[in-house]
Symmetry: C2
Subunit: 209 residues, 2 copies
C-alpha cells in the first residue's frame, strides 16, 4: 500500500504502532517532502509578484525541483518500509543446514544493502532540496522567508536522520569496501548540506535586517 | 477543516500552493507530531519485550505522553493556520477614518499575539516530547534506538522552526514587555531542548557501543 495516501492522523498512528515500520527512515522521507513543499510554496508566492519579475525564471525552475522531490520522496517512504521488511524476512529464513545458513547470510547482506541505499538516497535528496532552497532564500518573496528558514532547519535534521539509518544498517554489513564508500559519500553530502544550510541562514538574517 | 484528515500527499500539495497557509508553523507541528509517534513506536516495541520488564512502567508512561502530544499537535496544526489567517484578515480591515485606523491597529496586534502563541506553544511541546524521549533513549528497545535518534534530530530542528515563526511575528508587535518575556522563555526552552538533545545522542552512542 502507498503510505502517502493515508491521512496525516493515520500515518502518525501507523508509525506509533508496535511494529518497526514505518520508522525513522520513512518519517525522514516525509519530513524532507514537507520541506520541499515549503520551498514550492515560497516559489509560488514569488512567481507573478510585483517587484520579483526578474527572478521569475529562477523561481519556476526551483518550483519544478521541489515538486519533483515531493513526488520522489513519497515513493521513497514506501521503499524504506519495503527495504526494512526485507531485512526482517531475511533474518527469519531457516538456518538448519549449512546450505540454508549460507543462503540466509547472502539474503541478509543483500537486504541490508537495500536498507542502506534508501536513507543514503534520502540524504542525497535532502541535499538536492537544500541547494535548491538557496536561490529561494536569496530572491524569494521576503514575506515568506521564514518558511524557507523552517525548511532549511528540517532538511539539516533530515540529513542526520538519514545518517542514523544508514549507520544502523551498516553495523551488520560485511562489505567493507562498500561501507567505506558510503561513509565517504555521506561525508561529502554532509558538508554540502551544512554549507547550504549556513548560507541560507546567513542570507535570511541579512534580508531580515 | 481539520488538515490532519488530509492524506499525506494532499497535505503536501496544500502546503505547496500559492497561499501562505499552511506554512512553516503548521509543518513544524506535523514534524513534532511525527517525532512523538516515533517515540510511541519505540515505547510500544519495548513494552512486553523480554529483558525490558523492569522499565515497562516508564515505557507505559512515556507512551502516554507521546500519544497525548500527537493528538495535541494535530490540533495545533489547524490553530496555526487560523492564527495566521486572522493576521491577514486584520491587515485587510478598512483604514479610511482615524477610528478605523485605530481599530485595525488593535486587531492586528491581537492577531499577531495569537500568531506568536502558536509557535511558542510548539516550542514547549517539542521540549516536552524530547525530555520524554530521554528515558526511551536510555531504557528503550536497543533495536529501535535509531528511531529515537531520528526523533531527537527532528525535535531539535522543530525548536528552530518554532523560533523562526515566533520571531517573524514579533517584528510587527508593539508590546515590548510581552516580546521580552517570550524571548526569555524561548531561551529557557532552547537550553532545555539542547540539553535533552545532547544527552540523547550521548546515551545512544554509548548504547550502540
Amino acid at each position: 500500500m502507498d503510505l502517502c495516501t493515508l491521512s496525516v492522523k493515520d500515518f502518525l498512528k501507523r508509525v506509533a504502532e508496535k511494529s518497526p515500520t514505518p520508522g525513522g527512515g520513512a518519517v525522514g522521507c516525509v519530513v524532507a517532502s514537507l520541506a520541499a513543499s515549503l520551498g514550492a510554496m515560497v516559489a509560488n508566492l514569488t512567481i507573478g509578484k510585483r517587484g520579483y519579475e526578474d527572478v521569475s525564471d529562477h523561481m519556476e525552475s526551483a518550483l519544478e525541483v521541489c515538486e519533483n522531490e515531493m513526488t520522489y520522496l513519497c515513493d521513497l517512504v514506501n521503499k524504506d518500509v519495503q527495504a526494512f521488511d526485507q531485512v526482517m524476512t531475511a533474518y527469519k529464513l531457516p538456518k538448519n543446514t549449512e546450505e540454508e545458513k549460507a543462503a540466509r547470510k547472502v539474503k541478509i547482506q543483500q537486504a541490508l544493502k537495500t536498507a542502506i541505499e534508501v536513507p543514503f538516497d534520502l540524504a542525497r535528496r535532502a541535499k538536492n532540496i537544500i541547494v535548491n532552497l538557496e536561490r529561494i532564500a536569496k530572491w524569494g518573496n521576503l514575506n515568506a522567508i521564514s518558511d524557507i528558514e523552517s525548511a532549511a532547519h528540517l532538511l539539516y535534521a533530515v540529513y542526520y536522520v538519514a545518517k542514523a539509518n544508514v549507520m544502523i544498517n551498516m553495523k551488520s554489513l560485511n562489505d567493507e569496501k562498500y561501507s567505506e564508500w558510503v561513509k565517504e559519500e555521506m561525508g561529502h553530502i554532509e558538508s554540502q548540506i551544512k554549507g547550504s544550510y549556513e548560507r541560507i541562514l546567513d542570507v535570511i538574517a541579512k534580508r531580515n535586517g
